[in-house]
């Protein structure tokens, strides 16, 4: 049997055209406006991976915000060393007496070796601290990067040259090495060498230092974007009508920069979570009595051969979070910028 001869390309063209029309013709669908943002949202909703990752990420943020409430309902806190009141919780070697790191209906995720703190609330509060620092650092980085990058790109000339050189210098620093060496110096500026460094100071220093090294990449990206955008005719159109530089930056340029900013921010936040944890692990970030993801992993590393459960919860939750956030970042980029197919 011979298949029917395909008719000349005409029908194909017709369908193509109708598709094209439904995209471009304003009469195709009522008066509903399809803003670029809404189109991106629609593309995002169709992305299974993205939606699932978003749910996971939102879940983490919700438990971080609700940590005190959850702890209250659960009836424990991350500071009490439950084993000192009830020594039977730990065995002779100071490891949890029960199986699986002491997991029970009372201590859902088990108890900590040696001190006997509650793992569940410690993890909740740890996530809260880590996400809070990472989020604050991301926001500060973005704000600094936007202001510096957009200003350099828009003003051009000497300002741009000067800023670009600073960006080059900042980007050329080995930042991880620098954090380790530099964090104690920052603490030393405020606190006498023998005193305890207050937690708020550590947190603020972390946020500032992470941002101080992070702004350069986003500033460079936005500077490049603005250099391209400011030559576009719609900027000239605004100038012809007498728009002030402020208005041009905020009303004409910035709305066109949200895409790269959001993409950068979604890549930055998980990087900051791991960086913050890494610094805590290395002992230059948040330190022990304060619950923190990195502190917990650091503690877990001490006991993992005897009590793997204690390492498992913070480690696994962080892997899940960072993975989900990175997948979310990819989906956000695909949705906002459909042309950038990887």
């Amino acid at each position: 049997m011979t298949p029917p001869t395909p008719s000349p390309a005409a029908p194909l063209e017709v369908t193509d055209e109708s598709v094209e029309k439904s995209i471009t013709s304003p009469d195709s669908k009522g008066s509903e406006s399809r803003s670029p943002g809404r189109l991106a949202w629609r593309r995002f909703k169709r992305d299974r991976t993205g939606v699932i990752s978003a749910c996971i990420v939102i879940f983490f943020f919700v438990i971080a915000i609700a940590a005190p409430l959850i702890a209250k309902l659960y009836g424990k806190n991350p500071y009490t060393t439950y084993a000192s009141a009830r020594p039977e919780l730990l065995d002779d070697f100071s490891y949890p007496a029960g199986a699986n790191g002491g997991m029970s209906s009372e201590f859902w995720f088990g108890i900590e070796p040696q001190l006997g703190r509650d793992v569940f609330t410690f993890l909740l509060y740890g996530i809260r601290t880590s996400l809070g620092i990472a989020l604050a650092a991301t926001i500060l980085t973005c704000v600094a990067g936007i202001i510096i990058g957009v200003t350099a790109g828009y003003l051009g000339g000497r300002t741009d040259y000067f800023v670009s050189r600073i960006i080059d210098i900042v980007l050329s620093f080995p930042s991880t090495l620098f954090f380790i060496a530099f964090m104690p110096v920052v603490y030393g500026l405020f606190v006498a060498p023998d005193d305890n460094v207050p937690t708020w100071l550590i947190a603020v220093s972390l946020i500032v230092v992470l941002s101080a090294f992070g702004w350069a990449s986003i500033a460079r990206l936005l500077r490049g974007q603005v250099l391209g955008l400011r030559e576009r005719e719609f900027v000239e159109a605004a100038k012809v009508t007498g728009a002030s530089p402020m208005r041009i930056v905020f009303k004409e340029l910035l709305p066109n920069l949200w895409t790269p900013i959001i993409i950068q921010a979604t890549l930055m936040l998980p990087a900051y979570v791991t960086a913050e944890a890494g610094l805590a692990f290395l002992g230059v970030g948040i330190t022990d009595p304060t619950p923190d993801w990195g502190v917990m992993i650091g503690r877990g590393a001490q006991f993992y051969s005897q009590d793997f459960t204690f390492m498992l919860f913070p480690g696994l939750s962080m892997v899940i979070f960072v993975l989900a956030f990175n997948l979310l970042g990819d989906s956000v980029r695909d949705a906002l910028d459909p042309k950038s197919k990887r």
Partner: protein, 349 residues
């Protein structure tokens, strides 16, 4: 054409873009002479066509008039007020009177703003509150340019190129301007849509009495639109005349060459009688333009004199008043019978 009390008076207008180079210290090593000493006037309600090949400085001229760029020399007066080096604040009162329509309908509308916002933007910036509100004015403008007024909350990407250009026209009209600089407003559009947009601009010009500086790269479009036409070559005006004089009695070799390139159907019948002139070679670089007459490298009549002496833009014998030509050896006058000059050019549209 009245040159007694012009709306816009440009004299000696010059724009040289510095070329930076050198190592390690950057310095100016030369200049792109994009616009080099333009003189022209635009009367109220008049449309001046500005024609020339790519790169001859038309867009630069448009941007100088609208003061998107700072001239390096010459003066620009608007209604007798010198605006050559006026700051943004000093320009504010007349910003609403000089508007611009851009070449690229895709780049000239902010993709993140609705049409309503784009058109209302100029009113917002200049703090103009029309009776009935800005939204009503936006609808009215959309109607004027032939778009559905209900589409004010749509985004540019939902419109076709021709529709976008209409949005650009609406934005330019939003402030009730007296002068619109249209920089090749239709050259990015389909040929079939070009006529529609030109007709729209023509209506706007006639009904609202707006003066135009209409930039184009060929003489065909300008013919239907402009009462007066200036031909540019490498940053200089080589010929400027009333439409009928220019098309009927072109005196500069370059004008003649451009005219012979215009498709026959848009030029009157006796164009066939005209010899077809093919311009050979490229436009020389504006960084290092030819000495004397800038057209001499491509001119078939060039002599020693053309290389040494720049021809002034003057009224040469046989020209009507207001018809100025910059050539040492102009083409012979009156090749076209006089009765054809009065022919209505719109019939060709």
């Amino acid at each position: 054409m009245s040159t007694t009390n012009p709306l816009l008076d440009v004299s000696g207008l010059t724009k040289h873009f510095p070329i930076k180079g050198g190592f390690p210290i950057k310095r100016t090593v030369g200049a792109v002479q994009a616009v080099d000493g333009l003189d022209f006037q635009v009367a109220e309600g008049e449309s001046l066509g500005l024609v020339g090949e790519s790169g001859c400085g038309k867009s630069t001229t448009g941007r100088l008039i609208t003061r998107l760029m700072e001239p390096t020399g010459g003066t620009i007066s608007y209604r007798g007020q010198n605006i050559t080096h006026a700051s943004r604040r000093q320009l504010a009162p007349i910003r609403s009177e000089i508007q611009m329509i851009f070449q690229d309908p895709y780049a000239s509308l902010n993709p993140r703003q609705t049409v309503g916002k784009i058109i209302a933007g100029p009113m917002e910036i200049n703090d103009i509150n029309p009776a009935g509100g800005r939204e009503a004015r936006v609808r009215e403008l959309l109607e004027i340019v032939g778009l559905n007024p209900e589409h004010f909350n749509r985004f540019p990407h939902e419109f076709s190129g021709g529709q976008r250009q209409r949005i650009g026209v609406a934005r330019a009209l939003a402030l009730n301007p007296k002068l619109i600089v249209a920089d090749e407003p239709v050259s990015a559009l389909d040929v079939s849509i070009q006529a529609q947009v030109v007709n729209l601009l023509q209506e706007v010009q006639k009904e609202l009495g707006i003066a135009f500086v209409f930039i184009a790269h060929d003489l065909a479009i300008v013919r239907h639109f402009s009462q007066r036409v200036a031909v540019m070559y490498l940053g200089k005006i080589v010929e400027i005349a009333d439409r009928d004089d220019l098309y009927g009695n072109p005196r500069h070799p370059y004008t003649r060459a451009l005219l012979s390139a215009v498709p026959e159907a848009t030029v009157d019948e006796n164009a066939t009688a005209r010899e077809r002139i093919r311009l050979t070679g490229d436009v020389p670089s504006p960084i290092n333009p030819p000495s004397g007459c800038r057209f001499r490298t491509r001119c078939w009549k060039a002599t020693e004199k053309c290389a040494t002496e720049a021809p002034p833009l003057v009224q040469i014998s046989g020209n009507k008043p207001g018809h100025l030509t910059a050539c040492h050896y102009p083409e012979t006058a009156d090749v076209i019978p006089a009765q054809r000059l009065s022919q209505d050019p719109e019939s060709a549209a």
